[in-house]
Symmetry: C2
Subunit: 342 residues, 2 copies
């Protein structure tokens, strides 16, 4: 393998400098992204256009020479492929599933719709791969079943409450929804590997704050099932898990039970404690606000992360997606801080 | 002492049944509360009327025979007492502090305003105490400096981002704001003890998700300073800390460094792990959604909590405030589950 990112994710060894990429690196903080986004007309229009999606996927590599490109898409494409209505009005709005007892039947898959909705991501992956240098890795992704279910259970700020309440009130139908999503997410990840992704990340953005019993049942176990299904089709598939907001204990349980290759870590976690355990490859975890702030906050944050991980295989990233107001010159500085003088 | 709550909070021993109260127990889920709230005209009108505030403070004790009453007030009264504008439009809206460098000077205290804004809470405490049976404890409270600062730094959903960004960009002025709030919160807690509170709870509702360095600097250290100041005026004052969303490691650090008497724990924490440490008295941590759901979710949740804490001094509570849609008969059932047949 010639990719620094894939080498480190395979656990080969600690590498200096660490490979670097950023969650949501193809995004609104980049003027060249905003230009393509305007051309596409809408966020979903951009997701559905393979040429434009591939173009914005490659933009941050050209500008910052990151070590990996992540395909431009959205975790909710899987939900749309299931026939559940999704619109974006400053963020996604979904019709809540009602009535609960019929929810899963409503979502029965339509193979044509499934293919139609998800094909642009596969096409974009193939286009992006052909436009990437060999030493740059291409990452696919999907939302985890729990996080997708929080959106499907009800929109707005109460989305996680609605999903938790459903899980408490009617665990059988909620289990059925999660099982359906395990299957769908696995298929979508396999489809992305087949289209050219060399690693995938599973985003469980709303895994935080869950009581341990629910965390085990709806975050850990479904992710373990996905990893198993994906690796049955793609042996030794490199998979990064990101159960955002998890506790240290939760992360260790997740890593052990799922067998993910890498663990993406949010800014609240003490990386030094994780690095001292015999867990998977770590990725993270600079606070996106420290990147906006720049200056001493940025330098101190980067230094602490590099120090905590200097003896373990490590991929530098933010602890959450890069924010639209991030100054581009701070990203330039970050890359220099991580790589040192070249 | 004749109060089960105060006995247990003093760490006397594990008691069965555990004392029980609920965060936000004087609230919209009670028809008798909604009636008084309508009479008061507004939420702030209710906070500012000692007779009505004392009345709603006592309502849940009458209905459920809880072991402690918590004074009806709001954490933002301290901010209002500092002269910072606060309005409530489905939740508090605050003018963000601008410009940052002048922020703290703007908040210089006006002793008359301070007393005028906070006096209703002291009067309500005295009234509530006189209306409470001797075996029921009366709890005062305040918001912690970090949480108050997140509201003051900017309203809306981005409130925590604004505070974190301020802390990264201009740590000196943010430190000054936190120091001012340490002083104010301490004064307000001492005032509540003098008015009749027998214990206080410090709500750090937005302590979750903070990078460890910020958690230590803005949650742990300010709370330690408050505990010290309060106990200088009220020796051995019983103080419960609630840094919501903290990790287990964060809670242990917080407990050790602050010397709080009790630790209120949110639903994401495994109480069994905490109970196995030599920490403070524990309080919590039923998921408010499990209380809404009722049935098996409620019974299993209560059973797991009582089992995990059966060998340690423990106060039963929710892991977060009771929600307006909570059925009252579920609260009745919860009290029976915790107390067993009488």
């Amino acid at each position: 393998m010639v990719s620094l990112f894939l080498d480190v994710l395979a656990g080969k060894k600690a590498r200096s400098p660490a490979p670097i990429w950023m969650m949501r690196q193809a995004g609104r903080y980049l003027p060249e992204y905003r230009e393509v986004r305007a051309k596409a007309g809408s966020f979903l229009g951009l997701c559905g256009n393979p040429e434009l999606a591939a173009e914005v996927t490659l933009q941050p590599i050209r500008r910052f020479d990151f070590d990996a490109a992540i395909i431009f898409s959205d975790i909710l494409t899987v939900v749309m492929a299931l026939g559940h209505p999704v619109t974006f009005v400053e963020g996604p709005k979904l019709a809540p599933l009602e009535p609960v007892s019929e929810a899963v039947a409503v979502l029965e898959r339509d193979p044509v719709r499934w293919r139609t909705v998800l094909a642009p991501a596969y096409d974009a992956l193939a286009l992006a791969r052909s436009g990437l240098a060999q030493d740059k890795a291409l990452i696919g992704f999907a939302g985890a079943p729990w996080t997708l279910a929080t959106y499907m259970a009800g929109g707005g700020n109460d989305e996680q409450k609605a999903a938790r309440l459903w899980a408490y009130r009617d665990p059988d139908s909620f289990d059925a929804l999660i099982a359906l999503l395990v299957d769908c997410v696995s298929q979508h990840l396999i489809g992305q590997f087949e289209a050219g992704a060399q690693a995938v990340q599973i985003f469980d953005s709303w895994a935080g704050g869950l009581p341990p019993v629910l965390f085990d049942r709806y975050v850990v176990k479904p992710t373990a099932a996905i990893v198993e299904k994906v690796r049955a089709a793609v042996p030794e598939a490199p998979i990064i898990g990101f159960p955002r907001g998890s506790s240290l204990e939760g992360l260790l349980e997740y890593a052990e039970a799922t067998g993910v290759s890498g663990l993406s870590v949010d800014p609240a976690i003490d990386l030094g404690l994780l690095a001292a355990t015999d867990g998977p490859v770590l990725q993270g975890n600079l606070d996106p606000l420290a990147l906006i702030a720049g200056g001493a906050a940025l330098r101190d944050g980067v230094e602490a992360i590099l120090k905590a991980t200097r003896h373990v295989p490590f991929i530098f990233n933010l602890g959450h997606g890069i924010l639209p107001t991030t100054p581009i010159d701070h990203v330039d500085e970050l890359v220099k801080l991580v790589r040192g003088p070249r």
